[in-house]
């Protein structure tokens, strides 16, 4: 088990460098001078631009810039943004907010997705099943930004429930509406996943056996059907955490949440490579650790899986 974890962590290294280098090169390849653009329609003296470019190492070749960045990371120095702020501070202020949003979204999608999926799967073909399938299809088909506008229009604007936007400290309760928007697509996916695997497991031998043993229906559902049906759902939730973090670009924009999404978008627009890469690096790590966690959870959920030494 430990060996397995170690191997997986080792695999993280090339992916980490690959992803950060890729992003770095891509941002570098975006045409235009990021420094000159910092000043809007009122350009400063050319020598000033040169000096600022030197301060950000932008006068050096791209690979050197990347190496300097990597060396900085190992010394715990994430560099400064074009705004002169330590990147680490920006990370520290943006990630907790987005993490709260992502966790809420994760809870919402797991709660609704699994419950609805379970009921649908158990009563396959029924009215409830049909209705929830149609809703889930709608949720997947309508882009997140449209759902966002519609919910914003419906709740805060028309019904006067909650705030149209999230205040600057982004407390949990204000994040519920954005989290629902963020979770919408995933709710549908989880519903469908759960439904399919519950339906499949219903016909499985171990369920028949359990029922034949005379176990109560509730226990059969809880212990046998649900536990086994959760395996693909957990995989999905794990990979979803990563996409929730960035999927938040759109949702955070609609609700004015000062999280990762906005910072990432801003960094791309400004061509602020170091800041963007720092964010991507953290996201990649979260994404990969979440995947690892999922694989380990497999072992807990599925007794047939044991990781080889």
């Amino acid at each position: 088990m430990l060996w397995y974890i170690g191997r997986r962590l080792l695999q993280l290294i090339p992916v980490f460098f690959g992803a950060t280098l890729l992003i770095y090169l891509m941002v570098f390849a975006i045409p235009g001078d990021p420094i000159a653009a910092l000043y809007g329609d009122h350009p400063p003296a050319p020598a000033v631009i040169e000096e600022v470019r030197r301060q950000f190492n932008l006068d050096k070749p791209i690979m050197i810039q990347y190496l300097l960045w990597v060396m900085g990371i190992f010394q715990g120095d994430f560099g400064v943004t074009f705004s002169g702020l330590p990147v680490i501070d920006v990370l520290a202020s943006a990630f907790p907010i987005t993490a709260r949003l992502a966790i809420l979204a994760l809870i919402i999608e797991a709660l609704f997705g699994i419950t609805l999926g379970l009921v649908s799967g158990l009563r396959k073909g029924g009215v409830f099943d049909t209705v929830s399938l149609v809703i889930s299809l709608l949720l997947i088909s309508v882009p997140t930004f449209v759902i966002g506008f519609l919910l914003q229009y419906l709740f805060p604007i028309t019904l006067k429930i909650g705030r149209t936007t999230v205040s600057r400290d982004a407390p949990w309760d204000e994040l519920i509406l954005p989290a629902i928007v963020l979770a919408s697509v995933s709710i549908a996916n989880i519903l469908r996943l759960t439904r399919a695997s519950v339906a499949e497991n219903m016909g499985a031998d171990f369920v028949r056996t359990a029922s034949a043993k005379g176990l109560k229906r509730g226990r059969v559902i809880r212990v046998h059907i649900l536990r086994n049906s959760l395996i693909p759902v957990v995989t999905y939730l794990g990979t979803d955490l990563g996409s929730l973090m960035v999927g938040a670009i759109v949702t955070e924009g609609i609700f004015n949440i000062q999280g990762v999404g906005g910072q990432v978008y801003l960094a791309v627009q400004k061509g602020d490579g170091p800041t963007l890469v720092a964010f991507v690096a953290v996201m990649v790590i979260i994404f990969m650790l979440a995947n690892l966690l999922v694989d380990l959870l497999y072992a807990v959920l599925d007794p047939r899986i044991r990781y080889a030494k």
Binding site: Q11, V15, G203, I249, V268, F287
Partner: protein, 314 residues
């Protein structure tokens, strides 16, 4: 090493072993294939036909928009800005004074083209890479898997925003499709690799090897066709998601250029009018949702049809 596997033997009840039926194999009937069975199954569902009609309609609208809308979507008069519907202009006018109905009709093309191109590209790229990785294994597999991880780890929307910015200004459907495919292939590759791995050791493959068929020929003739089903399913489903992705990128302003009429772009422009003229947003959003839904449903149906277990359950 001695196998300690125990094969259970039991006598099945008579009704589960219709020996008589097995005996009566009708050799004159054509052997049934996975695809034939699938089609037979799909044919019987009314949803299939709803889907197909809808998709055909969308295709027709995308190819011949002028048959469905008389007004020119690019001829706009600012004086008509957000004017209500009048005869000949059933959906009214948008902010620029363009005919909304015409824009909804003409917008189909961008979505469908981007969706199709991205799906084809991602499926080809991911399919080939996944098949090679799965079949040959070894270091090739490791490299491809890590490469896939890298692209998998970078979220699509973020990656697409960056890559779209990298491109010189004249973006078109192809460039957008390429970008979506760049970040979409690992998913296909994973599925293809898994499917290839599971068929690699199938009896018919072992038999082919024993007969001396070359590795690449086996891959092409036996392994790939049998691994194709899951890839086709994922392709149909992802067609819908690529259309959503196109809309999202156009919404963010890094998608198609404004000269190409796109639902995502029109929705994004309409958001400012949501309080006063919500229909500007609702029409293109409905068209978008219908299109995506048609492809998603088709994907679902194909999946169910290709999966004998799901078929049996129904």
């Amino acid at each position: 090493m001695q196998s300690n596997r125990r094969i259970e033997r039991y006598v099945a009840p008579l009704d589960e072993t219709p020996i008589a039926a097995v005996d009566a194999v009708d050799t004159s009937k054509k052997a049934s294939s996975v695809w034939g069975d699938a089609w037979k199954d799909m044919r019987g569902r009314w949803l299939t036909w709803v889907c197909l009609v809808l998709i055909l309609l969308i295709a027709a609208v995308a190819i011949f928009p002028e048959l469905f809308a008389k007004a020119d979507p690019t001829s706009c008069d600012t004086l008509n800005s957000v004017a209500p519907a009048i005869a000949g202009h059933p959906f009214g006018f948008d902010v620029q004074g363009c005919d909304v109905y015409a824009r909804v009709i003409y917008g189909a093309r961008a979505s469908v083209i981007v969706g199709l191109l991205a799906t084809i590209l991602a499926t080809l790229l991911g399919g080939v890479i996944g098949a090679i990785a799965g079949y040959y294994g070894g270091w090739l597999d490791s490299v491809v898997s890590r490469l896939g991880d890298i692209f998998f780890a970078i979220p699509t929307v973020l990656g697409a925003i960056v890559v779209m910015q990298m491109m010189p200004w004249d973006k078109n459907a192809m460039s957008l499709a390429i970008v979506l495919a760049i970040f979409g292939w690992p998913q296909v590759a994973r599925i293809m690799r898994g499917a290839v791995l599971s068929t690699k050791h199938a009896d018919f493959v072992t038999a082919s090897i024993a007969l001396g068929v070359s590795r690449s020929k086996i891959l092409l003739k036996h392994v790939v066709p049998n691994a194709l089903a899951p890839v086709i399913v994922i392709a149909t489903v992802s067609l819908g998601t690529y259309i959503v992705a196109e809309a999202t990128l156009s919404f963010l302003g890094v998608g198609l250029p404004p000269s190409m009429i796109s639902w995502g772009h029109d929705i994004s422009v309409a958001q400012d009018e949501i309080r006063t003229t919500p229909t500007l947003l609702i029409y293109p959003a409905t068209a978008l949702a219908l299109t995506v839904m048609a492809f998603l449903l088709l994907g679902d149906i194909v999946r169910d049809a290709l999966d004998p277990k799901a078929r049996a359950r129904r």
